[in-house]
């Protein structure tokens, strides 16, 4: 049951900027596909268009090869889980899960069996008689999953399902969702702004920016070979260095890294460097390679197991480096020190982009 989206566009006010435009991608059958992007990127609108809660101005939505662009939401057979849970507060957990089955006029015995099966699956069989108000956030979200799955949907659409939960519960539920998917193999679309969530549990990632698809690929591909400066800066918290093409290399002051083959001499370049792709060294006299630069330590921030070092390079660019605690202690730098930064890998884009 794949989901295919072709040239979707939706604008909410005539003349206003579109919430979604020219969006095309495929969510492969049986996989988890993430829609990843900052807030306002159009991810939720896209999900609502696929669910049938919005009708697109242009384009098509195909579920399992069937065009359902204008099919009413009730007939699409999609299971939707909302960030706000959207449980029926006046119904018990059991009644919530049974709701979709009652509408389908599933016989009572079969319905009850199905509800119990769903509650077992989300590990809430002992709480069937409770009201949503008596449950924790994580439990409520699991009820929402049970309710959505009870109707045996063709695809599962998740709109920031863990967005309202605290970090620990979120990580637990992420694991749980992964295990659940292993069991059901249901085609799943997951809207999230959390790149870790997207990279961790999905087999396919669609990065969105300003209503458009910035890149659609596997998590590894998106991480290792970002298709645009936006993706490079959004994924992995990279710092950006500005420079120009000199002698076939991207030169940022004294520092230079390999430039794309097509780069022409003198063109502006941007190099994106991930926080852990820079190695810091104390000694300034070591034979300096081409990929090293001197930097001044502007600020230090200790974050649990590692330390964030904010470096100012001679070109004026600021880079963030993450150094493991033990390594940092061995290094022994303080704010104001000069250190040598060795760029181990960078993603370079030629041209004058602004993000």
């Amino acid at each position: 049951m794949s989901i295919v989206v072709e040239q979707l566009a939706r604008r909410f006010s005539p003349g206003g900027s579109p919430a979604v435009s020219e969006v095309s991608f495929q969510a492969p059958a049986g996989a988890i596909t993430s829609l990843l992007g900052p807030s306002g990127a159009g991810k939720s609108t896209l999900l609502r268009l696929i669910a049938g809660l919005e009708i697109p101005d242009e384009g098509r939505v195909l579920i399992d090869g069937v065009d359902c662009t204008t099919m009413p939401v009730q007939q699409r057979g999609v299971g939707v889980v909302f960030q706000s849970y959207a449980l029926f507060k006046h119904m018990t957990v059991r009644q919530n899960v049974a709701f979709g089955l009652e509408i389908r006029r599933v016989p009572k015995a079969e319905r009850e069996a199905r509800v119990e099966e769903m509650l077992r699956m989300v590990q809430l069989e002992h709480l069937g008689g409770r009201y949503p108000g008596q449950l924790s956030g994580g439990q409520r979200q699991r009820v929402a999953f049970a309710r959505a799955l009870a109707i045996r949907p063709r695809v599962l659409l998740l709109d920031e399902p863990f967005g309202a939960l605290d970090t620990r519960v979120r990580e637990e539920l992420r694991e749980w969702l992964h295990a659940l998917h292993e069991q059901t193999r249901l085609t799943t679309l997951l809207v999230t702004h959390d790149q870790q969530e997207a990279l961790e549990i999905s087999q396919h990632v669609v990065v969105m920016s300003e209503g458009r698809v910035a890149q659609a690929a596997s998590p590894a591909e998106v991480y290792d070979r970002p298709a645009s400066p936006f993706v490079a800066s959004f994924i992995g918290g990279a710092s950006v260095l500005h420079g120009e093409v000199r002698a076939g290399r991207a030169a940022m002051g004294a520092l230079s890294v390999a430039a794309p083959v097509a780069a022409r001499e003198g063109e502006p370049v941007q190099a994106f460097v991930r926080p852990h792709d820079i190695k810091l060294a104390r000694s300034l006299s070591d034979a300096a390679g081409a990929s090293t630069a001197l930097g001044r330590v502007e600020r230090l921030k200790s974050v649990g197991g590692y330390v964030k070092v904010f470096l100012r390079l001679p070109t004026g660019d600021e880079v963030t480096v993450e150094v493991p605690r033990s390594e940092f202690d061995a290094l022994g730098v303080v704010e104001g020190d000069s250190v040598r930064a060795d760029v181990r890998s960078a993603t370079v884009f030629v041209g004058d982009y602004s993000i």
Partner: protein, 292 residues
Amino acid sequence: MGRPFRSVSALTPSTPVLRQRAHGLQGPAFVRWGLIGATLLLLGVFLVVPLVAVFTFAFQKGWAAYGASLVRPASLAAMRLTLLAAVIAVPLNLVFGLAAAWLIARYRFRGRSLLLTLIDLPFSVSPVIAGLIFVLLFGRQGWFGAWLLDHDVRVIFAVPGIVLATVFVTFPYVVREVLPVMEAQGSDEEEAALTLGASGWRTFWSVTLPKVKWGVLYGVILCNARAMGEFGAVSVVSGHVRGVTTTLPLHAEILYNEYDLAGAFAVASLLTLLALVTLVVKKFVEWRSQPS
């Protein structure tokens, strides 16, 4: 004029917070007791004494006279007319209120805020003016007066006029109670119901109505109290034809003007009882609608 009313949703969440007000915010004891004393004094003079007076006067001549003044044909007719006006106005208000609240809460359209303002009109216009509007429309000299006369339909100084005036003055009650509840709760649950296969109609009955039921009930109670107690607008269109176009409040006034104090206060005591029952039910609804 319109009774002061408060929305259920605006009331309930803040109550526990107020109760736990920080000690530092409480002034010295004499201020507190002074304020309590002043409030009690005013309540006593303006509420308790008149309340006692109503029942004292009503029972001045004993139970028998009290009962007799209530079972008089004119009194019974007034009761019937009052009930009739309420029985017509309240369901109309309920249907209109739910439809309008749904429209305003769920849709964004041109003229939405104008509509909201218009719905409030009966609250802001004097009831006497409300009555006069109908006289100007349907009275003998009114816009539709000649046509109505030709077709032998009486609106003014007849029962239809009374019903019209009652419907007009109670117009905003249910919308104003239901709208804030609907807006506060958003439409996520409705959308979830749609994705589960429920039709719009089913969603309304199974999801929306249960969510707003206490707001609806609250609006209905206030609407009913106003419908039965309305004086100004009804007085203008009634013509005071005893036993035909007099509602309970008008009947009480007529008896009073005829120096039948015991009779007037017997009728007044009925309306007072209605008010007390309304208060108790209203309190109950407020209590039930608090989130557990």
